[in-house]
């Protein structure tokens, strides 16, 4: 059992320039990671024999007005006993006018779809994703609905929506 604080300290030692503060916000504490470094930090988290985060629970996106953020919930599971060894939360922020975060689709298979979902609904681009395209809305949909400044379209393919 390694605490999130200890994991953060290990990351900080490994990637001094890429890992930011440990944010103690209720209810879950998390580490800030630079968007361009997410890929290599996650690869380390997965491959380190002690940490071995083999389960990416979810990638959630949050609109922070100035920035757009992706929140990663990670767990390390023992396949023999089914128990969760430790859990970790990290967040990456990218500027709203150019929201680019490094992809983790090559680290965990589940990220292929989860990153597509974040791209579709929040408009964060994941660099290095093998097939980044919309997943829930139509391919010709305009805008990213979960952004706070999203304006619902008045028409769609000639259909009046109001």
């Amino acid at each position: 059992m390694v605490t999130p604080r200890e994991i953060h300290d290990r990351l900080k030692a490994q990637f001094p320039d890429d890992v930011g503060d440990f944010v103690e916000e209720p209810v879950e504490f998390f580490s800030e990671v630079k968007p361009a470094a997410v890929g290599r930090v996650c690869a380390f988290l997965k491959e380190d024999p002690e940490l071995s985060f083999n389960y990416l629970v979810s990638i959630s996106s949050v609109d922070l007005t100035a920035n757009l953020a992706a929140v990663y919930h990670l767990e390390s599971m023992d396949l023999e006993s089914g128990r969760t060894r430790h859990a970790f939360v990290m967040r990456a922020q990218a500027p709203r006018d150019n929201p680019v975060i490094a992809s983790v689709a090559t680290v965990w298979g589940t990220a292929i779809w989860q990153e597509r979902e974040v791209y579709d609904l929040m408009g964060i681009t994941f660099e290095g994703h093998p097939d980044l395209k919309r997943i829930l809305t139509d391919d010709d949909w305009v805008g990213h609905p979960l952004r706070k400044d999203y304006v619902f379209p008045k028409t769609y393919r000639g259909i009046d929506l109001e």
């Binding site: 916000e25 209810v27 629970v57 959630s60 919930h73 396949l79 809305t137 979960l146």
Partner: protein, 382 residues
Amino acid sequence: MSGIVDQVQRQKALKTDRMTINMGPQHPSTHGVLRLLVTTDGEIVDHVEPVIGYLHRCKEKIAENLPYYQFMPYTDRLDYLAGMNNNWAWAMAVEKLAGVKVPERAEYIRVMFGELNRIASHLVAVGTFGLDLGTFTPVLYCFHEREKILDLFEATCGARLTYNYYRIGGVAKDLPDGLVTKIREFLDPFEKRIDELNTLLSENHIFVRRTANVGVFPPALALDYGVTGPSLRASGVPHDLRRAAPYSIYDRFKFEVVVGRGEKGTVGDTWDRYDCRVREMSESVKIVRQCLDGLPDGEVRTKLPAVFKPPKGHVLFKAENPKGELGYYVVSDGSPKPSRVHIRGPSFCNLSIIPAVCRGVMLADLVAILGSIDIVLGEVDR
């Protein structure tokens, strides 16, 4: 000799192009509006690309415009075969965020209905799985039993599919008179029905041949794709949140975490995923019985202010739903409405493994594999 040369020449002249076909969005075996873009090499599947989103309602955006209480009925429509469990996870996520305590009696009622809904959901999964593979009788037996569970729900909250019964801080109202007896009357014959189902389907020679050794999910690959619930346990990983991270009062109950044993073929094959659900129903029966035995008297709902404002913060809460781990990531800015809600749907993640495991299988097996992971499109598309 020249005959053979001719034959080879003729074969070379035959075109063996790959063919791309659409399975869905209106296809009986896709359990809703799922479209699979399948590239086939004759009868062999070369590549599958699931196309989803036909049922997208942007529930996460809706949540941002509603007070916490009022999002409850929307959660019913995620995995609409397990409305109780969806309600429950939402209630627990907000309770964790705001630090709300739930009365003892409410906890027992919640576990009881959660487990009854798990049985109902698994009955549909098992029944329709038989239907996918071409046998019609089991689904009638399953729906007959499910009907009785829905009657119990109807007696309690008036609804048969979208319950809206759980509340933040408890449940909407207490059990009606005589419901405890009615649940017991359902449970006793139900256990015999599971045995019946086993003779009807589990041991059926044709069914076993269609499912054993088909679509094996290696445990590490399954977890890599975020597969959870019975589909992960069938691969031999005994991960069940009710045991691994007991929420509510699950630490008080005795039950087994069911895992795949590879009884008919390989661990993690399609038969194992089916079998795990059948055996999980018996475990749920055990939990419901323990709930009935220990059901205390008292309040069923903590009184909360009409304008409910959780403190500033964020949390991801996960619960073990019939399909897998349902998670709500809730961000509160201290106002009466959530600032952001992200829903981690188990069906969404479970479905994402399909392209990785379906290369090289027969087209008919694709239907079996899809049926065995038990998806509900309401939750895939949200």
